[in-house]
C-alpha cells in the first residue's frame, strides 16, 4: 500500500522517503516499497492461537480467584478443614465374572480396588475431574446378596455376571486441598471404578489369569505407549487395507470413520485405556468421544474449554497439557480433516446420508444464505458458551444444584451428548438421577440432528462449535487441498458432490491452495474430478491423492469400465492392462 501526502511543514521529511514531482511538490512515501516479507504464520492461525492463550490465562486467573472463594465458602458452611484425612463408608456394586472367582458365600475376599469419585452436580463446589483418590482400609463383602444402594444406579444387566455388594471403608485426602465434601450433594461413583477390580486367585496362584488373553491386554494397558500403539494399529490396519483395495476414497473414509469410532469412541480399547494410569496421555488423543460416555478416552475440546473455564484448572495442570497437545495434534496437524475422516458425529451423518440415498430420497441443498446463517450461528454458540462458562467460573452466574444442566453451556445443546449416552445407565435416558440425565434441550438437539442429517449432508457440521477452533488452521495444517486451475474445466462436479457445499474448489482458478475454512477435507472432490492432476490432496506436502480420469470412472458402474483401456489401472496408481476387446469380436 502506497499512500502519498503533500508535503506540509517539511519537518518530518526523511531521506529516502521523499520524492519531488514535476510541478515542484515534494511527496512523502508513507511506506517504503520493496519486497514483501513472507508471512510465516498466517494471520488467522495467529489470531486463534492468541485467543486460545488468552482463554487459558483467563481461566487460570479465574480459577485462582474461585479456589480462594471456594475455600472460604467451605469453611463458612462448616465442612471439614482443608486437607484433612477423611474416612467414610461407601457401597460398591461390583460385577465379577463367575469363572474367575471361586469364592464361598460369606467369605471375605480382599479386593485391590482403585477408584475415583466424580461429582457431577456442583461444578463449582467440587469440580468434576478433580478426582479424590483414596486407599481402602477395610472391605466387607457379602457374596450373592444384592443390595442396591441409593447411589448405585448401575444395575447388573447381564445374567452371566454375579453381583457383589461390598462395604468399603476408605480413607482419602482431597488432592488439591480445596475440596470440601458435602453430605447433601449426591455422590456418584464413576462406573469406571468397577473395571479395576482384580480378584486374585480362583485356583489360588493366579497363573491362569496371567496366560489368558485378557491378562495380556491388562499388561498392555498398563503401558501407555503400548496402548497408543495398539490404538494406532486398530485404526491404521483397516484404513491401509481399504486404501489398497477400495475403489474409492469414499470407502476408505468410511472405513477410517468406522474403525476410529469402534476403536476409540465406543470400542473396547477405550474401555482399557481409561483404566490405565496413562490417562493424561490417552486423553491427549484428539478424540471427540463425548465425556459423558462411560468409557470415553478423552473429551472433546469444547467440553474441555467450557468445563475448565467454569471450574478452573488451577491444580490440574495436566489438563492444560492435554489441551495444548490436543490443540497441536488436532488443529495443526490435521486441520478439519478430523471432521471428514475421524469424527464420530460426522460418520453418523454420513451413514444417514447413505441410507437416504439408498432409499432414493432427494437431498436438500442449503441456499447460500442458509449456509451463511448457520456459519454465524456456529460462532454464536461457541462464544456464548465460552462467555457463560467464564461467568459461571467467576460465580457471577450461580444456580441451585437442581439446575445442574445450566452448568453445561454447550453440552446441553450438543447432539453428541444424548447420542452417545442414550442407552447408558446412569447418564442416559434410562434413569433420571439429577443432572446426569439428559437434558430435554439436548434431546431436542438430537432429534433435530438426526432429522436434518437425513436430508441435508453434514447438517450439524455447519453449526458445530468445535470447528470454530479448527477452521482457522484449515489450510495451514498438514493436510490441504490444491488445484491446478489450468486443468479445470469448471464442470462443477466438485461442488455437486461436496458434503458442505464449498464453492471455492469449483470457482477458484488462480490460487493453488484452495483449502477453505468450511472444507472438511474429505477429498471427495479430488476423487470425482475427471481431469488428470487438477485437484490434489496433500499430506505434509506430499501428494497423497491426485485426481485422474481412472479414479473417476472406477466409481461408476462396471459396465462403464469395459471401455477404459489405459484407464483401468488400480486405484492407488500403477499401470493396468489394456482394455478388453469390444463385444462381438469386431
Amino acid at each position: 500500500m502506497r499512500g502519498k501526502v503533500e508535503k506540509g511543514t517539511g519537518d518530518s521529511v526523511q531521506d529516502g522517503r521523499t520524492q519531488v514531482t514535476e510541478d515542484g511538490r515534494t511527496l512523502i512515501r508513507l511506506s517504503l516499497p520493496g519486497r514483501k516479507m513472507p508471512r510465516l504464520v498466517p494471520r488467522r492461525a495467529l489470531v486463534t492461537a492468541i485467543i486460545l492463550i488468552v482463554l487459558i490465562l483467563v481461566t487460570a486467573i479465574t480459577h485462582y480467584y474461585v479456589a480462594n472463594t471456594q475455600q472460604e465458602a467451605a469453611e463458612e458452611v462448616g465442612g471439614l478443614p482443608v486437607g484433612e484425612r477423611t474416612e467414610w463408608s461407601l457401597s460398591f456394586c461390583l460385577r465379577v465374572e463367575p469363572e474367575r472367582v471361586e469364592a464361598v458365600p460369606g467369605q471375605n475376599i480382599t479386593f485391590i480396588l482403585q477408584w475415583r469419585a466424580f461429582h457431577y452436580d456442583c461444578p463449582y463446589w467440587l469440580p468434576y475431574g478433580r478426582s479424590v483418590e483414596g486407599v481402602i482400609v477395610n472391605t466387607n463383602i457379602t457374596y450373592d446378596n444384592v443390595i442396591l444402594q441409593e447411589a448405585t444406579e448401575w444395575e447388573p444387566v447381564d445374567d452371566l455376571l454375579d453381583t457383589f455388594e461390598m462395604q468399603v471403608t476408605v480413607q482419602a485426602t482431597s488432592r488439591d486441598g480445596a475440596v470440601k465434601l458435602f453430605r447433601d450433594c449426591p455422590w456418584y461413583f464413576d462406573q469406571k471404578a468397577r473395571g479395576v477390580v482384580d480378584v486374585p486367585g480362583g485356583d489360588g496362584d493366579g497363573e491362569e489369569d496371567k496366560t489368558s488373553l485378557s491378562a495380556w491386554w491388562d499388561r498392555i494397558r498398563q503401558d501407555p505407549l503400548a496402548t497408543l500403539m495398539v490404538l494406532f494399529l486398530i485404526v491404521a490396519i483397516p484404513v491401509s487395507l481399504a486404501a489398497r483395495y477400495a475403489t474409492s476414497v469414499k470407502q476408505v473414509r468410511m472405513v477410517s470413520q468406522l474403525s476410529f469410532f469402534g476403536a476409540i469412541n465406543i470400542g473396547v480399547l477405550g474401555f482399557w485405556a481409561i483404566r490405565t494410569e496413562a490417562l493424561p496421555l490417552t486423553a491427549a488423543l484428539p478424540s471427540t468421544a463425548c465425556n459423558y460416555l462411560n468409557y470415553s478416552v478423552g473429551a472433546c475440546v469444547v467440553y474441555q474449554m467450557r468445563h475448565y473455564l467454569s471450574v478452573g484448572f488451577f491444580n490440574s495442570w495436566m489438563f492444560i497439557v492435554v489441551l495444548i497437545l490436543t490443540f497441536l495434534v488436532l488443529y495443526v496437524a490435521m486441520g478439519r480433516a478430523w471432521c471428514g475422516w475421524l469424527c464420530p458425529l460426522g460418520m453418523i451423518q454420513d451413514v444417514m446420508n447413505w441410507v437416504r440415498a439408498r432409499i432414493g430420497l432427494r437431498r436438500y441443498r442449503l441456499s447460500p444464505l442458509q449456509r451463511q446463517v448457520l456459519n454465524v450461528g456456529r460462532y454464536g454458540i461457541f462464544f456464548a458458551g465460552i462467555l457463560l462458562s467464564i461467568l459461571i467460573g467467576i460465580q457471577i452466574v450461580t444456580f441451585y444444584v437442581d439446575a445442574g444442566d445450566v452448568y453445561r453451556p454447550i453440552c446441553q445443546v450438543c447432539p453428541a451428548y444424548p447420542l452417545f449416552t442414550i442407552g447408558q445407565a446412569g447418564t442416559g435416558l434410562t434413569t433420571s438421577v439429577g443432572a446426569q440425565s439428559i437434558p430435554w434441550i439436548a434431546l431436542g438437539a438430537l432429534s433435530l440432528f438426526l432429522f436434518s442429517a437425513v436430508f441435508i449432508r453434514r447438517a450439524f457440521c455447519r453449526i458445530c462449535p468445535v470447528a470454530v477452533l479448527m477452521m482457522p488452521f484449515n489450510g495451514v495444517s498438514g493436510i490441504s487441498l490444491h488445484k491446478d486451475g489450468k486443468k479445470c474445466t469448471r464442470c462443477s462436479m466438485c461442488y455437486r458432490v461436496c458434503p458442505v457445499d464449498v464453492t471455492e474448489v469449483w470457482k477458484e482458478m488462480e490460487k493453488t491452495d484452495i483449502t477453505v475454512h468450511n472444507c472438511i477435507l474429505c477429498m471427495r472432490c479430488v476423487e470425482v474430478c475427471p481431469e488428470d492432476g487438477c485437484l490434489t490432496g496433500r499430506v505434509m506436502g506430499f501428494n497423497a491423492i491426485e485426481s485422474s480420469y481412472s479414479k473417476f470412472i472406477r466409481q461408476h458402474d462396471r459396465g462403464t469400465r469395459r471401455s477404459m483401456g489405459r484407464h483401468s489401472s488400480p486405484w492407488w496408481g500403477g499401470k493396468g492392462k489394456g482394455g478388453n476387446g469390444p463385444p462381438g469380436g469386431n
Binding site: R358, R363, K487, R490, R496, V497, M509, N586
Partner: protein, 482 residues
C-alpha cells in the same frame, strides 16, 4: 441399488413444474415461394445431394491417400457418407416401428434423456455448402454465420434424410444465429427452444438450466409417449460414460509424438456419433483406440515426424466442410489437437454421478452440458483460454489455427484474446475467417503454407538457442562459434 419401489421416478412433480414454452405458430410466419413448387424443390434437392456426395467423396479420397491410415477407419468412412449411409435405413426402420427421432443442435441437448425415451438423437448442424443460397432466401443476412444458413437450407430443400426423419429439433439459444434459426425453423417442423444462461456460475443460472432440461424432458415424453424412468436414465448415462471414456482415450492418444492419427480422421471419428447409435460407435472407437495404441508401441506415424504440430480452434467444422483441416494437412502440417464443439469437446466431459438416485443423476446429466462447456456464448469465458493453454502444453502444439466462420461473432470476439494468450506461450496463431464456399481455397493455402513455414522457422530458432545455451553452460564453447 435395490428396487425398493419398483420403477423409480420420485420427482414427477419437478418435471411437471417446468413450463413448456408455446412457440409453435398457428400459421407460417414466413412466405417462401420456393417451397410451393415441389418439382423445382425436388430438382434442387437432387442437385444439392449430388454435389454434396461429390464433395464427400473428394474429401474421403484425400483422407484415404494419407500414408498409413488406421484400418479401423473403414467403418467411420462408410458411416460418414451420411447422405447414403446405412444409418438412414436403421433410422427408417426405427421410425417404422413407431420410434421417434429428435434432432439436436450445438452441444447442449440432453442426449441421455432422448435415448432414455427410446428416441434417436441426431445432430443437425450442417456442413453442406450449397444449401446456403436457399437458406438466404429466408435469412438474408449477409453477415450471418454460414452454418445457420446451411442448416436452414437443408431443411428447406429436404436435402438431409436425418433432418427429414426428425420429429422435433432442440435448438439451444446460444448465439444470434441459432436464436433466429429456431424461429424460422418453426414454420417447417416442431422446434423446442432452450434458454441457455450466458452466465453459468450462479445459483439462479443452475436452477434455470435444470428447469429448462425438465421442460425438455416433458416435451420428449409427450412426443415419444414414453415415460423416462430411473432405469433408462441410468442405462443411458452409463452408455454415455462409456463413450466419453473411449473419446478421452482417443484424445489422449493424439498426444503421441509423432502423431498416430490424422486430424481429419480424428475429427471424423468425433463427428460420427452425431448421427450414429452410440453403443455401436463405442465398439468401433474402441477398436480404433486399440489400433492406435499398438501404433504408439510400434512407432508407426501417419505423418512426417518433423511436421509442425498444429491445433485447430474456433468455430465448429462440420463434416463435410473439411476445407481447413484438409488445407493444413495437405500443406504439411499435422493437426494434433482440436478445440471444436464438433470435435473433441462433443464427448470430452463425462457425467459424474454422486448418488445413483434420480435427482442427482438428472442434475449431473443436465449440468454436464452446461457447466464444463466452453462455448464462447458464455461469459466470462476464462476456462476456454485456460483450456487452450493447457492443450498447447499437453499436445506440444507449435501453432494454432483459429477457424472463424464469417459472421460468427462470439468466436471472432475471442480470437484476439486466444491469440495473445497463445503468443504468451510462444506459439503463433493464424486466424482464418472464411465461409463454406471453396472460392478462397487457394488464397487460404498460401496463408496456411506461410504460417507453417513460420512455425518451422521458429522451431529451428528455438533449437539453435537451446544448443547455444547448452554449449555456454557446458563451458566448452562460447557463443555459436565452431
Amino acid at each position: 441399488m435395490p428396487k425398493l419401489f419398483g420403477r423409480k421416478r420420485p420427482n414427477i412433480r419437478d418435471a411437471a413444474a417446468a413450463e413448456v414454452p408455446d412457440t409453435r405458430p398457428s400459421a407460417p410466419r414466413y412466405r417462401w415461394k420456393g417451397g410451393e413448387d415441389e418439382e423445382r424443390l425436388d430438382e434442387l434437392s437432387r442437385i444439392i445431394v449430388g454435389r454434396a456426395k461429390e464433395l464427400i467423396d473428394h474429401y474421403q479420397e484425400q483422407m484415404r491417400k494419407a500414408p498409413s491410415r488406421p484400418e479401423a477407419m473403414a467403418w467411420f468412412d462408410e458411416r460418414a457418407r451420411f447422405l447414403s449411409s446405412p444409418r438412414i435405413g436403421e433410422i427408417e426402420e426405427h421410425k417404422a416401428n413407431g420410434g421417434k427421432v429428435i434432432g439436436t443442435m450445438c452441444v447442449f441437448a440432453p442426449l441421455e434423456l432422448i435415448r432414455a425415451a427410446d428416441a434417436i438423437p441426431v445432430r443437425l448442424c450442417s456442413g453442406l455448402h450449397n444449401t446456403i443460397a436457399t437458406g438466404e432466401e429466408l435469412m438474408a443476412d449477409a453477415g450471418l454465420c454460414p452454418m445457420v444458413k446451411s442448416t436452414l437450407g437443408v431443411k428447406m430443400t429436404h436435402a438431409s434424410p436425418f433432418f427429414e426423419a426428425s420429429d422435433a429439433v432442440i435448438v439451444p439459444m446460444v448465439c444470434d444465429g441459432k436464436f433466429k434459426l429456431g424461429e424460422v425453423l418453426q414454420d417447417f417442423m416442431e422446434v423446442w427452444m432452450v434458454n441457455v444462461p450466458h452466465i453459468k456460475d450462479t445459483q439462479q443460472a443452475r436452477s434455470m438450466w435444470l428447469d429448462e432440461v425438465r421442460a425438455l424432458q416433458q416435451q420428449i415424453e409427450t412426443l415419444t409417449g414414453n415415460r423416462i424412468y430411473w432405469e433408462e436414465l441410468k442405462r443411458e448415462i452409463q452408455l454415455s460414460l462409456r463413450a466419453q471414456t473411449v473419446a478421452r482415450r482417443l484424445y489422449d492418444l493424439r498426444k503421441a509424438d509423432p502423431p498416430v492419427i490424422n486430424g481429419r480422421d480424428s475429427l471424423l471419428v468425433n463427428q460420427t456419433p452425431h448421427t450414429e447409435d452410440l453403443s455401436v460407435w463405442v465398439e468401433h472407437a474402441t477398436v480404433l483406440a486399440q489400433e492406435l495404441e499398438q501404433r504408439v508401441r510400434d512407432g508407426i506415424a501417419v505423418s512426417d515426424p518433423e511436421a509442425p504440430r498444429i491445433m485447430l480452434a474456433g468455430a465448429p467444422i462440420m463434416w463435410p466442410n473439411f476445407k481447413i483441416p484438409q488445407l493444413i494437412e495437405e500443406s504439411g502440417g499435422s493437426i494434433v489437437a482440436d478445440e471444436l464443439c464438433s470435435g473433441t469437446r462433443w464427448l470430452y466431459d463425462p457425467i459424474g454421478i454422486d448418488e445413483w438416485i434420480w435427482d442427482d443423476m438428472f442434475q449431473a446429466m443436465a449440468e454436464r452440458y452446461l457447466q464444463p462447456s466452453v462455448c464462447p456464448c458464455f461469459t466470462p469465458n476464462d476456462p476456454r483460454i485456460g483450456r487452450i493453454k493447457q492443450m498447447i502444453e499437453d499436445f506440444r502444439v507449435e501453432g494454432v489455427v483459429y477457424h472463424v466462420l464469417r459472421g460468427c461473432h462470439i468466436y471472432n470476439g475471442e480470437s484476439t484474446r486466444v491469440k495473445q494468450s497463445a503468443e504468451d506461450r510462444g506459439v503463433p496463431m493464424l486466424i482464418i475467417e472464411t465461409e463454406y464456399s471453396q472460392e478462397d481455397t487457394e488464397q487460404l493455402r498460401t496463408r496456411v503454407e506461410a504460417f507453417l513455414m513460420l512455425v518451422r522457422a521458429r522451431r529451428k530458432k528455438a533449437a539453435k538457442a537451446k544448443r547455444r545455451a547448452f554449449k555456454t553452460i557446458d563451458g566448452s564453447e562460447g557463443g555459436d562459434g565452431a
